[in-house]
Structure formats: structure tokens, C-alpha cells
Symmetry: C2
Subunit: 181 residues, 2 copies
Amino acid sequence: MSRPPLAREKVLDAFEALLIGEGERGSTLDATARGAGVSKGGLLYHFATKEALEQALLERLHALVDADVAATAAAPEGPIAYFLRTSVMNDDALDRALLAVARLAQGGNAAASEALRDVRAKWADVLRPHTRDAAALDLVMLVSDGLYFNNALGGGNVPGPTPRGSALDALVVLVERAAGV
Amino acid sequence: MSRPPLAREKVLDAFEALLIGEGERGSTLDATARGAGVSKGGLLYHFATKEALEQALLERLHALVDADVAATAAAPEGPIAYFLRTSVMNDDALDRALLAVARLAQGGNAAASEALRDVRAKWADVLRPHTRDAAALDLVMLVSDGLYFNNALGGGNVPGPTPRGSALDALVVLVERAAGV
DNA sequence: GTCTATAAAAAGATAGAC
DNA sequence: GTCTATCTTTTTATAGAC
């Protein structure tokens, strides 16, 4: 519960940014240390192995998701609209952690794949009471996945075809009409 | 136009399979050669650099997509239903090429990202006349992206939460009702 | 066309000074 | 806690025999 050391967080931030921008291949200990402004030895004091670094990222994701699930359940505009709107990447802490863990999962990291399934199940549990049936829940989840997926292409730095503004408004209306209770 | 050498195709198949199963990190020249049953020297005769290997995969994807776009346009059950049903991975040649190129894109390969955007645009062009408006087209494309994304987690070897069978039937009905003309 | 052998660089990790 | 230096292994690529 104590506040984690600043350098440790900076290393984790750098690793996360590298995964999103360069993928697993570019996310080396060297590059991470450089990005965090520490030496490789300094990095390895906080994370003894690369696996420890990856594990820490999964823990960060779980904490952020738990907070978001609570926010989704309590959203005034309704969970479905809130969920879809926040699926369009805002480059906030949760988006970054989610994308970075997705990179790890696609690199074959089994723990990362499991974490993503857990996360998805948590969101589904919140949305289920607000959808007509199983197909409607599938629809909402898949549109959200699609929004994330498009943001994920090109490392988030290439403006994808993700609907924004009025296009997003229209999409939300369409999904709510098709899926909402 | 001439039939490509068999060994060359086997190398490309192995590289594709490695990208899907292990991600960019595990997709080394060594592992690719091993998977194809050739030596590293043999591999490098066909693909002088790793970049050449990646480029060949992009060309394979483009050819497969062009064929699929034609099939989508001519599908008896209608382009939307055909498009969504074929978005659930069947482990066919197109699915594999698409997933493998997605791995490259997430590794920061700009040409791969561009290829995925091109592919997506081609499908959108075919589906546009069969959707009510822009939001409806977004809905169909995003559900398809979501279906692919879920298959992509865990390298395609972990049974994801992707709807199948009657669940997929219900989803197709829901999307067609919401988006179809 | 396909192989073995090897070079050159980059990767993860350890040791020990400060 | 953070650093430099070093070791080992892996990865991409080249050279040249068959």
C-alpha cells in the first residue's frame, strides 16, 4: 500500500510506452532503461528479470480495470454508452496498460492472455444486466473490441478509422437500440 | 505468374505460423528455417533479409484479400452475413495471413499497418452499398474487427469467447437488423 | 538451390564499485 | 539505489563448399 518508488514507476511507464509503440521486439531492457532515464543496472534493481517487468504491468492493468469497472457500473449515461465511449482510446492510463498487455499476449505470454480474458469477463459482468440477451451482450463487447483493435494498429500513433465525435454518437445510438434493455 | 518454388512457400508458411503462434519475438530466421525444414542458408537464398520475408507476407495477404472481396460481393446470403461469418476464424489461408500481418503491424512495421488499412478499406467499399448509413457501416466493420481481435488473443490456440454456432447466428441477425438496408 | 561455418551485433543477466 | 563493466546466448547476416 506504500507509494511505489518513482524510478520504478518511470521504468514501468517506459516499458509500457515501448510495447505500444514498438511491440515486443523493440521493448528491450536496454531501450526501456533508456526511455526511463536510468541505466540497465538501475532497471534491474527494481525488476530483477524481464518476466518481473511484465508481471508488474499485469498488476497495474488489474488495478486500473477494477477502478474502471466501478466507474462503468455507476455511469449516469448508462453502462453501455460509457463503455463504448471509453473504448475509443483517450490515451489514459487504462488504455495504455490494456494495449501494452495485449502486445505481451500476442507475443505468446500466457499470463497476459489470461489477464485479458479476465478483464473482458469483468466488463461483461457489468454490462450483462443492461443487455437484452446473450447476442446483444456479444454485440456490445465486440464493438468495443473492434474500437480497441483499430486503435491498436500502428501503435496508436497512426490515426485509424475509429469513429469519433458525431460518428461515435451515431454508433452508440445504434448499438444501444439494438442491444439495450 | 509462374508457380513459386515449393521451398519458398514452405518458408513463408512457417514464418506465418510462427508470427501467429509466438509473435514477432519468436519469429526468428532460425525458428522459421526449422519450421520449414530447411537450413538458415537455404532460407536466406529465397529471402535475402528478414525484411524481404515480411514483404512477401504482405504480398500474399493482398492476393488473398482481393479474392475474398470478390467472394464477399457475390455471396448469396448477402455481403454482411458473409463478411461477419468469415470474420470468425476458420484457420484458412486468409485468416492466417491477416493475423500474421497484424502481428507485424503491432511490431511497428509501417508497411504492415498500411496493408491492414488498405484491406479494411476494400472490405468497407464492398459493404457500404448494403448498409443504411455511415454508423451502420461502422457497426458491421467494428463487430468484424472484434471477432478477429478475440481470435487473435492467445495466438489463436486458446478458445476465446468468440460466438459460434447459434450464438453467431443470433449476432448476425442482430447486426443485419441494426445495420442492413 | 541448399548446406555448414562463422562473423557482428544485440539480447538478457551478473558482479561489484560507488 | 544507481552505476559501469562484463559474460553468455541469441539473432541477423555473410562466405564459400557441395
